[in-house]
């Protein structure tokens, strides 16, 4: 990738580069890029794990330490929320299942140490959602204030319900019942996900390792916004490296991706993770993904777009056309989420009706 501008940050994160070999000027860039991609605390723990913290210059060190203190707060808060959730889920007989950042952190993935996240994402079978939402209300969780249209948008078409916010603690949870919008062109079968759940600690479940990988890829490459793309791709890289420490069957990943209709996002994740982080992914695995699915527009064109949004959103790495790439991928993301007719209807509502609704409700 156009990468050399942030080669050092990537190298320090993956271990390809040692802290002692980094110059002060390079650290300057690493801290700025690491801050804007929210990975400074992950960098702290990875260097700590490799026993390289002593090689970090003193002037740089506080940035990493301070970031690690912030991530401790996230972990503390998440743990205390989980403690509150568990009895509610137990009383309903619903498995408490974490997704994304919280799942990586709570299941103690070494790659996720120091990972921060703004919301807690949960996965719940669709048929349990009404009961769960009603129960959570008794514990102070209320649907964030959404218009009737937004409620319908989420409940009829999306893969999650509108975020629930705790009235006192203001914590936000996103409850998903599957991993892609119901209206999306790709159709993973939700019930497949539930069959593979694994219990990572008492009463706390996550997706199976392979599904976690697939979800990480899907979440990143089928979305409309790419603000956290760099960190999300780093998650994917870390999850791959993590499964490789045990016995791992690459073919099983492909089989599962086919079964879940997720070859497309897997292809992109493998391709870019390899290029950005040197992830040890066998080339033939990428090639066999590519043979099953190649982008409608050429891979070269998609590279131009993704290169721009995966980059840390930081001036040092800004390429010409970044804003345009974001817009095109925003449109692509929506196009993948909804059939064309519904998309037109949705955009029309957002552009012309929602603003008026807000005005009239404010008046």
């Amino acid at each position: 990738m156009t990468a050399n501008k942030f080669k050092v940050l990537c190298g320090l994160l993956t271990g390809d580069c040692a802290a002692k070999d980094v110059s002060l000027a390079q650290w300057n860039l690493v801290v700025q890029q690491g801050r804007s991609t929210h990975v400074l605390s992950m960098l702290y723990y990875r260097l700590k794990q490799r026993e390289q913290l002593l090689d970090v210059p003193k002037v740089v060190m506080w940035h990493l330490e301070a970031a690690s203190i912030v991530s401790e707060k996230y972990l503390r808060d998440t743990r205390s929320e989980i403690k509150r959730f568990l009895p509610v889920f137990a009383s309903l007989g619903v498995k408490f299942t974490l997704l994304k950042g919280a799942a990586y952190v709570i299941s103690d993935k070494p790659c996720a140490k120091g990972r921060t996240f703004s919301d807690i994402d949960l996965l719940v079978p669709k048929e349990n959602i009404d009961r769960l939402e009603a129960a959570l209300q008794w514990h102070g969780w209320a649907s964030s204030n959404q218009s009737a249209y937004d409620q319908r948008y989420y409940r009829d078409w999306m893969h999650e319900i509108p975020p629930l916010v705790h009235i006192k603690r203001h914590t936000v949870i996103d409850i998903h019942h599957t991993i892609l919008p119901l209206t999306a062109s790709l159709k993973p079968v939700a019930s497949n996900l539930f069959a593979g759940l694994q219990e990572v600690e008492d009463g706390v479940w996550t997706l199976s390792d392979i599904d976690m990988l697939l979800h990480s890829a899907t979440h990143l490459f089928m979305d409309t916004e790419f603000d956290h793309a760099f960190r999300d791709l780093l998650d994917f890289d870390g999850l791959i490296r993590d499964v490789l420490t045990r016995e791992f069957d690459w073919q099983a990943l492909l089989v599962r991706a086919r079964e879940m209709d997720l070859i497309q996002p897997l292809y992109y994740a493998l391709r870019y993770s390899r290029r950005m982080f040197n992830t040890p992914i066998p080339l033939d695995i990428v090639t066999s993904c590519e043979q099953e699915w190649a982008p409608m527009l050429t891979a070269g064109f998609m590279d131009v777009l993704f290169n721009r949004v995966i980059m840390p959103p930081h001036n040092s790495a800004r390429l010409a056309g970044t804003a345009l790439a974001r817009k095109l991928l925003f449109i692509r993301g929506h196009y993948l989420r909804m059939p064309f007719g519904l998309l037109i209807r949705h955009l029309f509502h957002k552009a012309f009706i929602s603003p008026n609704e807000k005005e009239s409700s404010a008046a």
Partner: protein, 301 residues
């Protein structure tokens, strides 16, 4: 070298071209701006700050610039950019010195979590530091500036930084910020003081900054030990009154005025506990600055 080794034009040129790498307390800011108001603010109020244009590593990359867009033709707006992000809403051009100060304060309070950071002023004399936490409008900055005018060392006017390793106070001797009536009060009380541009109509009313003494800036790497937690209360026509407060009250008030107490968790609890253990706490009601200062001189003598 220090800022005053430049001429005002050289200072403005550096800010506009490569940016100025400027030492502020324990931090290095890399400030870029082509606005003359920002250049004169830095030239007037940071004359003693160390500059190192060859410095490879800086803590806070900052830019203060005109916001582009058509609205700028009617009413020019200025925005503060940190590390490529714009953390707050733009202000009018005339408020750019205040935006610079608030921006740097934000950089510190949002990132420097190796310190417990309080919204409080801190000054030191005879190796005894006084921390003055107080809600806006209680006269904390006025009293702080008046003490500094009488030779106390300025640790900080706005952000008191307590090391979580040893509970010592880390100086951050930035320009002192005065609001509304206190601007005139200090101009009369301390005629030799150096004032920056008065920013009118900000959220806090009129705001002006005062240059910290050279001595305080030079000693900014010297930590100080807290001895007193003081709750100042200006009250017109009040008779001077010093009331001892309980440690528990002091602790809780400091927590209320902390930016990152909850974020730091047990780090903050331990740092603040030992700070309060070693300090006495008082409430000081005053109407006359000279009376208040004599009283505080007694406390640290």
């Amino acid at each position: 070298m220090i800022v005053s080794d430049f001429s005002v034009d050289e200072c403005a040129d550096q800010l506009a071209c490569d940016g100025l790498r400027l030492n502020v307390g324990p931090f290095w800011c890399h400030i870029r701006s082509s606005l003359p108001l920002v250049a004169s603010h830095i030239y007037q109020l940071y004359p003693d700050a160390i500059i190192d244009q060859d410095r490879a590593f800086v803590d806070f990359p900052i830019q203060i610039s005109r916001k582009s867009g058509m609205r700028g033709w009617v009413k020019p707006l200025v925005e503060f950019t940190f590390n490529g992000n714009v953390p707050f809403t733009p202000l009018s051009l005339n408020q750019s010195p205040a935006l610079t100060e608030w921006g740097i304060n934000w950089c510190v309070s949002a990132h420097a979590h190796q310190y417990l950071i309080l919204h409080a002023a801190a000054v030191e004399k005879n190796n005894k530091a006084i921390i003055m936490p107080a809600p806006s409008g209680s006269g904390k900055s006025t009293l702080c500036t008046a003490l500094v005018a009488r030779g106390w060392r300025l640790l900080s006017d706005e952000l008191t930084m307590i090391s979580i390793k040893n509970s010592m106070l880390q100086p951050l001797p930035k320009p002192m910020s005065l609001k509304n009536e206190s601007i005139q009060v200090i101009q009369e009380f301390w005629p030799e003081s150096v004032f920056g541009h008065v920013c009118t109509d900000t959220l806090k009313g009129s705001v002006a900054h005062v240059k910290p003494p050279t001595e305080s800036v030079k000693r900014s790497s010297e930590e100080a030990k807290a001895a007193i937690v003081l709750f100042p209360q200006y009250q017109a026509d009040a008779v001077l009154q010093l009331k001892s407060k309980e440690k528990a009250y002091a602790y809780m008030s400091l927590v209320e005025n902390a930016f990152n107490y909850h974020l730091l968790g047990s780090h903050a609890f331990h740092a603040l506990s030992s700070l309060v253990q070693q300090s006495d706490a008082y409430e000081l009601t005053y109407s006359d600055l000279n009376d208040a200062i004599s009283q505080l001189e007694l406390l640290v003598s």
